[in-house]
Amino acid sequence: MAQNILQVSNINKSFGKKSVLRDVSLSVSQGESLGFIGPNGAGKTTLIRIILGLVRSDQGSVIINGHPLRGEFKKAIGNVGSVVETPRFYSYLSAYHNLQMTCNLHPQVKKEKIAEVLELVGLTARAGDKVGTYSLGMKQRLGLARALVSNPTLIFLDEPMNGMDPQGMIETRALILKLKERGISFFITSHLLSEVEQVCDHIAIIKTGQIITRGSMEQLLTRNFETVDIYTSETATVTSVLQNVSFVHQIKTGENRVTAEIDRKSSANLNRLLVERKIPVDYLVPNNTTLEQLFIELTGGGEDSDGSDKK
């Protein structure tokens, strides 16, 4: 089993009388990318701030790279990179100077690393420009560069695709996957669930300050049944044929379409049955569960009222 890079145990946090996080536990192992998702105000950013030592938890512990945050803060945080919320910079300084400031806090990191990370995120040509002149997408890329300067083993990215154009999103996704291959672990929060689905291999969903589900993406998105959309002009015939079939559990009829919930790996049987009954079918479309569907199912969508990311 891979070594845990991050271990968060039983974190509780209240701001005044408002309980923001309740008994939150999760872990990230080496090379894993955890998608940490939840409605607005669920407590995502607060948890990241606790893990980074910016906010103190009322209870619980955080261990990073084997070092407890309380007691061995410098060792724990030494190999962590982060972009929390919208990346913040000294707008009157150049991108290079902003990265140099991070570099200055890690004496073991050589200055050449700055040029390397700027190249990696495609900002070499604009390195000398003041960050105040950057677009949000460029700031996001610069934030990622800053997170990479310290040679991290774990990177926190809070809404990393926010403000990026489609090309930027593709490039960032590819970069994250490339870094993941090098063994860097990621802790990513995003409202773009399709991006999380493409980049992360594990997810944890938080609602009103509590983790309501966590596990591998594959495990959570795999169901005991499959959903298949049958596009046909003879919806009535299809419905009547499928009503008495053992592997079909549920049927919904729409205009020129029947949606059937069937046993896993039964789509071939369904196809065969429709052919045998000589029912004209235009398309058979398997309908996989997406992270978005799972998220809506588990959280009901919307915003949380009793958790809070904004104080």
Binding site: G53, N104, L105
Partner: protein, 253 residues
Amino acid sequence: MTGLIKNELLKLTHNRKTYGFMLALLMINVIPVLLTLLIGIRTMDGQSYPSTLYGVTVSWVLPLFLIAIIAEMITEEYSAGTLSLSLVHPVTRVQLITAKVIALLMLILAGLLYALLLGYGIGTLFFGWGSGFFMRGISYTTWEGIRITLVSYFASAVPLLSFSLLVMFLALIMSSGASVVGASAGLLLIFTILDLLAKEISPFLISSYFVVTHLVLSFNRQEISFALAFLLLHSLLFYLAAIVVLQKRDIVN
């Protein structure tokens, strides 16, 4: 720690306020020259010029500049979310505060040096070097004059740093840069008025130590010891208070 100090200095050297301060000081140096040229009576010379402007420089120009810089360094950085940038790296909050204090001391020393050189430069340029150093009706040799001027300027770094620590504490407990500037400038004004009106409480007002010429001239050991003890306690109190406030604070921006 060295890295944190480098960062603070990098920010200060790229900050517009630093250049605004330099410009303001230049103008303050030029105004007496213009007035002299207008009136046509030459009463100053190059070697006395820095000490003529010493009072206004260390009592008002530098303190006000420091208030503006500290408000930005702490309160505005907190609200802009940049204060947290250093804290997510292997540095402690005590180190962050200490680095800011050291950077402020360096800034004060650089500011005093700049004011001193500007005074000598502009004074000599417009009035000539002069034959001797005059202060409070007493004539000193050139070398004595330079020593008095240098010691006075650089000794002011101690009370100015102590005042900076008070402002730093205010910056940590207040939520907006404007409030910090208003409160600190208000305090500075109140201290100055109290210093003028109630001499008996002067030894307990930080602003009464900004100008140290009388201590340099008299070299009264008792007075100097009291001043140093007061400044040390004042500095220690607000340095520790600033650390306690930052240690307890949740950084949510």
